[in-house]
Amino acid sequence: MSWNYDDSLQRIGKHLDSMGEIEIEKLVREADLETLLTETCCREIHGAHVYADISTFARIATESVADNNEYKRLIQGVHIYQREVSRIVETIFGGLRIHFQGSKLHALFYRPIDDTQMLATKAFLLLLVLKDFVNSVFNPSYSLLGNFSIAGGADVGDAIGTRNGRRNDRELLFLGACANYAAKIISSSGRLRISKATYDALPDDLRDLCEEIDDDEIYQAGSVSQRKLDEMLEKYEIEWDREKSQERVDDDKRAHPLKDIDYSSANELIDLDALSIWNNKRVLAVSIFGDITGFTAYIDRAESDDEKREALRVLHAIRKEMATVVAVDFNGLRVQFQGDRVQGLYHVPKDEEASIATEAVEAAIGLQSSMEKTIKEKLPEAEELQLAVGVDIDTTLVSKLGTRAHRDRICLGSAVENAAKSEEKCSGGQIGVSKRVYEALPGRLSKHFSYDSTIGCYVAKNLTADKVERAEKAAAAAGAPAFITSNKSGVTVTEREREGARTIIPGRSYAED
């Protein structure tokens, strides 16, 4: 599998030609965003974005021993957790469960329209309820798995809602600072954090439950007793009842018994949409995340409608190209779009660590090549944008879990978490790979990476397919022939013989003192 400049250029052009005119309007009345939003029908949505994560799921997914009930229990636990959290978000709070990014929930409150105080209130109370749910319902139900804690973040503001265009795996995408910031402020210490904008919008009695934690204008929830939480829920007319939550979890456990949950390895590329609670995969896999650095600032800076339309056109072009590089140019799975970032997975050939790592890193280089060489040629307005890529390898749970209407493609494992973290730490133009990936690479690739102690992984900067190819030619010896072919688009010089090539012995370059 490989990346090719002409193919990339051609498909980007084709996508742009077929994209149609993008329409962006402010969302002024309540609507079902799942049906309203498309690639070209976009809305500016004032809302509160919430992220909540139990990162321990990932560690267990990697460390659990196969052929053990613990693994099935984990699958069951994640499935039931996602189902109940989805119910809490949608049925009890009236919010929109955008998706789960592995174990991380992304939810949005946008109703009542433009009522910032109520949106912030719902976001904050949701975080408190989820924490209570994990402590009082989920942990007792899954004590054999461990004692989980939830970390969360919320921010309120404007974001543009859109959707990717594929018929069978359409996903909602939200672009804007608040959609990013809510995820960014999540701490690893299991705290619930909110932005200053969210804090400022809260009514006084909820503000009193928060404390400012540092100079970054982030606030976090203090210790809130169950009695206090119930009091606040009643006051703000949120009807969550932990006993009913417990009943639903118990019902779900009975409906999804461990004996019926199956997991296996995969010899061929996984069909993600064929997966379910009953059919899961446990594979050695490379996770890869590619993120458009600077895109949030780029879209937030867009003021006129034309500028916003242009930014969305750029996003959709990059997004689709990234997905094509991951899944078509290279033998991988496009797992999910997460705003302006794409998640991919490489797991074949089965258990062949070096081959899988090489394919994934070649794909990372392909992503950088598309971004730097073809996207920017087709879309000069994307000049300031770059791509940051993170890559790691380990045992990963791959499934499609959740409620019937909203099942998400799920990849759980330490490598997923680490790849995401590496990507977040990398700057635009960088590819960050873990030590394990680095050591699995052939020399022709690993020589482009060096350890970066500030990022904590091996990093290559501005590495595109032409550079990898050229670095391989550096070994051409004095007196060896060079092979030259020409066509209307240029001259190609190689050290390997090619059909129809002219042969020369390159002169040994010299310089006078």
Binding site: N4, K473, A477, A482, P506, R508, E512
Partner: protein
């Protein structure tokens, strides 16, 4: 011939002298060169600097990696008064690479393609210019390879700077190590002579006439004025 060229600078007053491209054989050569490179180097166009009365090629050489990524390199090739007997001179005019000796450039962007005594220029060949442009393309490709390789390697070999490059060349021609060059230094400079039946200075134990005599004679002839062992020519001006 003139319709082949575009003009640069004001039309000069003729001094009555003719340049290579103004003679019949030069006109023919120019037509032949133009035809030979048209297909493979379409973005290099002929021009005439009227002030200097110099013909040149100007434009870009596009190098495509095998994955298809193109890199455009601004190039100028100047054809001097003694073309085609003497090779043209190539310049990188876009400042894409550092114009320093370690990258085989003069400060003005002139490409140091090879030691003069190792020139790949084949003036009598019909496709000499095409071959020369292939060498320039390879030279630029090596610049890109150098930039892309983490250990900064110069593909397809290079010569040491200045006199070192000549010494390397002589050493290779004589077929031995560095000490061999020292042994032949006196003969190379012309300060010493050796009888054909003497032992060869290479310490092979053979007679000179059966060992290095012929190759050294060929080498001295080939080096000509580029022989680094010749004493510097003193200026006739005092």
């Amino acid at each position: 011939m003139r319709e082949l060229l575009y003009l640069v600078g004001p039309t000069p007053k003729t001094d009555g002298r003719t340049r290579w491209f103004e003679r019949d054989e030069g006109d023919e050569r120019l037509k032949r060169d133009r035809a030979s490179i048209r297909h493979d180097y379409p973005d290099l166009k002929y021009g005439l600097n009227h002030r200097l009365k110099t013909v040149f090629l100007d434009g870009t050489i596009t190098l495509r990696a095998e994955c298809g990524i193109p890199t455009q390199i601004k190039t100028r090739v100047i054809f001097g008064d003694f073309y085609p007997q003497y090779e043209p001179i190539a310049y990188e005019t876009g400042n894409m690479f550092p114009h320093i000796a370690n990258r085989h450039f003069f400060p003005d962007g002139r490409c140091c393609l090879w030691l003069p005594v190792e020139t790949q220029w084949k003036p009598r060949e019909a496709t000499a210019l095409h071959g020369f442009l292939d060498q320039i393309s390879t030279f630029f490709e090596r610049q890109l390879i150098y930039d892309a390789s983490p250990d900064k390697r110069w593909a397809w070999g290079q010569r040491g700077h200045g006199i070192e490059g000549y010494i390397e060349f002589i050493q290779e021609e004589l077929g031995g190590d560095a000490s061999l060059v020292d042994n032949f230094a006196g003969l190379l400079s012309g300060r010493e002579e050796i009888a054909q039946n003497s032992d060869c200075p290479c310490d092979s134990g053979k007679k000179y006439k059966y060992c290095h005599a012929k190759s050294l004679a060929r080498l001295i002839e080939h080096l000509g004025g580029e022989n680094p062992f010749l004493p510097p020519v003193e200026s006739s001006l005092s």
